[in-house]
Symmetry: C2
Subunit: 444 residues, 2 copies
């Protein structure tokens, strides 16, 4: 289906394309449009019926939105902005150059403009920046029937009507009532009698990840956001929470691979931007790796005395690095899902040490057999290599599991401590252990 | 709050604890109970009011649920099972030993038993295994008022009432209608006139990750699941989709760190299980690293002739490994979010090569300055190291970006190809390049 429309558009068979486009889901239509070459995108966008156009616009990437906005007439801009939900408008504006923001703000009504400006002022990764102000608010004295009346009157423009918020005259949040509760209650029941007063909420400055996690923990469809005086200012909806969860997982993976996180999809990031995200860590890690070289050089005599030792350096370093990342990534993910707390440190240390002893002895045993039967090295050399291997795995697991927790405790991002940095530390420690064990056992 | 209840429970001040527990959110109550020592958990569970008890049970881990079920009287078991949503029951049973499953199935009514057995039969990671059969179904001829009547009559037991499914007499899905649409429509409007007929659905055997991704793409609260004959059999709700998204991200991170994925939280996994998940990959990677040793040994003469070269091996290997994981993890995440497709390979190769040239020359330049000014090595040696560095980064990026795509194309899991395996390949290639460049330039 998507491919067919794309083909028709590229062949400039617009009326046939329009006939297919009009029945498409906006998410799919957005995908088709994004695949078109830039100059054709505005043409195709104009084929969409008015309402679908706004919905489709909301699903497009900020880069494509900018292309479209630049090409819109004032009239078109107004139409799209009118249909867009507030949080989608803000998402779009956050990525736009100042002149586009100004133009958009000129074409929305004064109330919307005020709300947009307010949301744009919250810190980038805060709950305030992803919330929408378009929620249904009720009063405690309303009956269920009056509440439904209010939803009917105002609901079209609200992003979700299923969770409604009961506020007092000062906008303080008093309770929450769901449409399900209202449907299952008699029509003349007062909202105050069916509302839930044990309310979970976050503040505008709460980290967006924490807000998303709360929403997922309590299985909510929306989570209220309050200001410093506990007045309701907006809600975070579940679709935005899912986006945050996916973005944060991507960011964590990027940091684990020693990259500065980006918020653009890979295919839309320029070579230059990719370079800027990757090179600082590569440089930093390259420089730290030279310490390792320093260690090797300082044991030059030992190596010259027993050249066969050099060959095992990569295996020892790699195994240490692999064990270290296994531990660190397990702990980092546990911290980020809230499964691990500071009080667990003693149990974690005990567990990681036990696992390291098991893994280390398995690896040492396998390696010993290979060294004796395949490589046929002297018994003492095999002993040095296997003893080092077991110690290296132990050190790697301890460093790998404690460093992220320590980082978090000190207020740093534990993910940045992941594989590459831990690898560098473990590499250096492995080599020092290796050469000292060698000196001791081989007497060189 | 949670800490206070925990303290009261541990001090056996049960009536005070009960007074606090009864107003808690079930997700929070579950967290408190999970922190108690095993023997105290059933006692604390009995303090919960009946309805909260079932909700709390649904939020607990399978391990804790098993402890509780083992201690339940038949009466208690029946009460909890009656309140539980079908998908939560199935989630629980999937992790239980056969005797517990049998006992639970004896205490649910015949209809539920049939549904449970059906869901239990779907493959573990399929949409069928996470769906619920408790949805609201409507007929096209109903009016909005009749539909609301039906929701009022049957809604209590449904996990979501906000999206309703219109089926024909053979249970074929004809349309979808939301409560919002119904609230905004006149009461005497027929469902057929307001239902959406352009329906997105998945099949029972669709991968659960794909179902979750579809739900997130279209911003749905629930996604219908159909059988081979396109008959509606259940729905996947957004809260379960979020769980799947988080689980899959955790699994991907574990695989990136060369571990077999687990579905238990870290603190609940035994040392033995952790060892089993980690040691196979460590062994495999250790053995592949011995190829690296083989390469070093075969260049033993070159190394003996210029011992200073040995010191740069770790830096070259680490940098290659780091560059390779940067590329591979970017591509793997792009594949898993559906941002990258096979057709993009030429553009990816071009981009990764350009980034590699930029990164490689930056690193080589920085390293050259350091080699000449700090380490004061001969110009030719510095030349060998820096030229190798640039080539290694290029090879690493090409291997790192193409291997995951190739793996996916061949039907393997691209994530397994991530950092560790790529590191091993890049290590070996780096060394061969290094020694050959050295032989060529130094004439050894």
């Amino acid at each position: 289906m998507e491919e067919k429309v794309l083909g028709l558009l590229e062949a400039r068979r617009f009326s046939e394309a329009a006939a297919l486009l009009k029945d498409m889901n906006p998410a799919d239509a957005a995908q088709v449009l994004e695949l078109l070459p830039e100059p054709k995108m505005p043409v195709a966008f104009r084929l969409l019926p008015k309402e679908l156009a706004a919905d489709t616009f909301a699903y497009m990437s900020p880069e494509s939105q900018e292309i479209l906005v630049q090409g819109f007439s004032d009239r078109e801009l107004e139409e799209v902005m009118e249909q867009l939900f507030l949080d989608d408008t803000v998402d779009m504006l956050e990525e736009m150059p100042a002149n586009v923001i100004k133009r958009v703000l000129r074409h929305v009504d004064a109330g919307t403009r005020k709300m947009i400006n307010q949301v744009l002022n919250y810190p980038k990764d805060s709950a305030g920046s992803i919330m929408t102000m378009e929620y249904v608010d009720l009063k405690r004295s309303m009956t269920v029937e009056q509440a439904f009346e209010r939803i009917r009157r105002t609901g079209v423009e609200k992003e979700t009507v299923y969770t409604c918020y009961v506020t007092d005259s000062r906008r303080k949040l008093e309770g929450i009532v769901t449409v399900k509760d209202m449907l299952l209650a008699p029509k003349d029941r007062a909202i105050r009698d069916i509302m839930e007063t044990n309310i979970k909420f976050v503040s505008t400055h709460t980290d967006q990840e924490e807000a998303a996690r709360a929403l997922s923990k309590y299985d909510f469809l929306a989570l209220p956001v309050v200001d410093g005086e506990e007045r309701l200012v907006g809600i975070v909806t579940v679709d935005d929470a899912i986006d945050v969860i996916q973005e944060e997982a991507t960011e964590d993976m990027e940091k684990m691979a020693a990259m500065a996180p980006s918020d653009k999809p890979y295919m839309k990031t320029s070579v230059w931007d990719t370079w800027k995200k990757r090179v600082p860590w590569l440089l930093f890690l390259m420089i730290s790796a030279t310490f390792t070289s320093g260690i090797i050089n300082s044991f030059e005599d030992a190596l010259a005395a027993s050249v066969v030792l050099t060959g095992f350096i990569p295996m020892l370093m790699d195994t240490g690095g692999n064990s270290g990342s296994q531990s660190s990534i397990t702990i980092i993910r546990g911290l980020s899902l809230g499964e691990i707390r500071y009080g667990d440190v003693p149990r974690i240390l005990l567990k990681e040490s036990s696992v390291a002893l098991l893994c280390g002895s398995t690896l040492a045993a396998a390696n010993f057999v290979k060294l004796m039967l395949v490589d046929r090295v002297p018994l003492l050399v095999a002993g040095v290599v296997c003893a080092t291997l077991a110690v290296v795995v132990l050190v790697a697991n301890i460093v790998g599991s404690t460093l992220p927790i320590l980082a978090k405790r000190l207020g740093f991002d534990p993910t940045v401590m992941a594989s590459p940095l831990i690898t560098t530390i473990v590499d250096a420690v492995s080599l020092v252990i290796y050469f000292n064990v060698a000196k001791l056992m081989l007497g060189i």
